[in-house]
């Protein structure tokens, strides 16, 4: 691929700390290779800022290969910056070839009360950990792997469970939702654990505890709008939310669904 260079203008949310007010600050970045990832482009900006003696832009990242869920900023109004492209992506896997010379790119943090801003583009997503702690686990002893045929799992359920398990907990679903609902994330975990034999003993209690924690943390309610699934880098489908609701309704009629 030819090494194309573009000049862009970034409008980035700068906020020194959680309690201080923030604002969008404009930075021109010249000579950006279109082979760079979005985060590499931000690295480039930060190098320039550091040389000038300015505070670099804080943003979260870790694996940079789309599997850890650490990265995530809202780019031109879409979480992770998918924009109108049909390809779902994490911010770290978004490349500058998706932009044109002269583009003005607005970069903002996830905005939701349960995800408070720590600094610039970094938000605190420990609310998701609390939802997991409320019930996103199975209480069986780990140990040597059991005989694989001992617990048969229908392929259709295994596939659905595994698809739901690809959720990396990035929080883009919350960032995309006009209600700031964490239903897609919570429902992905419910579907992942609830369809496998190991998840059965706690299935109906789990859904109550997790949704209870979700609501208590101040996430909004679901209107089935579909913005979450459209922003999700792992294409977690909207129907996991129906799965959660089905389990929740069933839990009202199950003895093992009582708290």
């Amino acid at each position: 691929m030819s090494d194309t260079k573009i000049n862009i203008t970034l409008r980035i949310w700068r906020q020194p700390k959680a309690t201080s007010p923030g604002k969008l600050v404009t930075y021109p970045v010249n000579g950006v290779s279109t082979d760079m990832s979005f985060l590499e482009m931000l690295d480039m900006l930060n190098e320039e800022l550091t040389v000038k003696g300015e505070e670099p832009v804080a943003f979260d990242h870790d694996c940079r290969e789309g599997i850890c869920g650490m990265c995530g900023v809202v780019i031109n109004g879409t979480p992770h910056g998918r924009g109108s492209s049909p390809v779902p992506t994490t911010t770290c896997q978004l490349h500058m070839r998706n932009f044109k010379d002269g583009d003005v790119i607005t970069v903002e943090p996830w905005r939701a009360r349960p995800f408070p801003i720590i600094k610039d583009l970094v938000v605190d997503r420990s609310a998701f950990d609390k939802i997991i702690q409320a019930g996103g686990y199975i209480s069986v002893n780990t140990g040597a792997a059991p005989e694989a045929h001992a617990a048969p799992v229908p392929k259709i359920k295994a596939d659905r469970s595994f698809d739901a398990a690809t959720c990396i907990g990035c929080g883009a679903c919350v960032a995309a939702c006009p209600n700031s609902s964490g239903m897609l994330f919570t429902a992905a975990k419910i579907t992942h654990l609830g369809l496998l034999p190991q998840g059965q003993p706690e299935r109906y209690l789990r859904v109550k505890k997790m949704i209870g924690e979700h609501d208590a943390l101040g996430f909004g309610g679901c209107q089935n709008l579909g913005e979450c699934a459209a922003a999700c880098p792992k294409s977690i489908p909207l129907d996991v939310i129906s799965q959660l609701n089905r389990d929740l309704i069933k839990s009202m009629f199950k003895r093992d669904g009582k708290k």
Partner: protein, 207 residues
Amino acid sequence: MAVTGLILIAFLLFHMYGNLKVFIGEEAFNHYAEWLKTDMLYPIFPKGGFIWCFRLVMLAALVLHMWSAITLWLRAKKANPDSYAVKKRLERTYSSSMMRWGGIILAGFLVFHLYQFTIAPRDPASPYNSVVTDFSQWYFVLFYALWLIAVCMHVRHGFWSAFATLGANTSEESHMVLNALAWIVALLIYIGFILPPVCILFGLIGA
């Protein structure tokens, strides 16, 4: 939200079907209206008794529906106080983004509608006359035609969303099926409700 919404949609379909009696003629329509008000489920209920149960259930559904909508709205406001400088809509439809303001419009107009035909009808002796007189005016027909757009947009997203909340959206295919059904119900409601007023306006009924 889902259950009360579906009750309201079921009522709309029933109400629409009933209104179509206006095509059969004055006697049939008035007789039907009279039956609704006095004879429905008689003699299990006393004369004129069941309509009040019916109204009570509709009112309860409506109040609970609005109460859940307001709760949802307040939760969203609390969860999402700072808006984005730039926000792009990827998936949500226009009707889904109008659920709240659209719902307010529906409720406001409902009061007018009840006033027009139930509380202070043109001809208390003949619902048929009341309907024909009012819908001979083009502005009433236009008004209802516009209002029905709001109703049907609300129903289109509401129908799909209610079934998703009740757990029926199990796959990509069921998403498509539910959405198709939602469109069919919304269009049915539009056509079924607007047909009598339009036919009255063009003199096909009543003249």
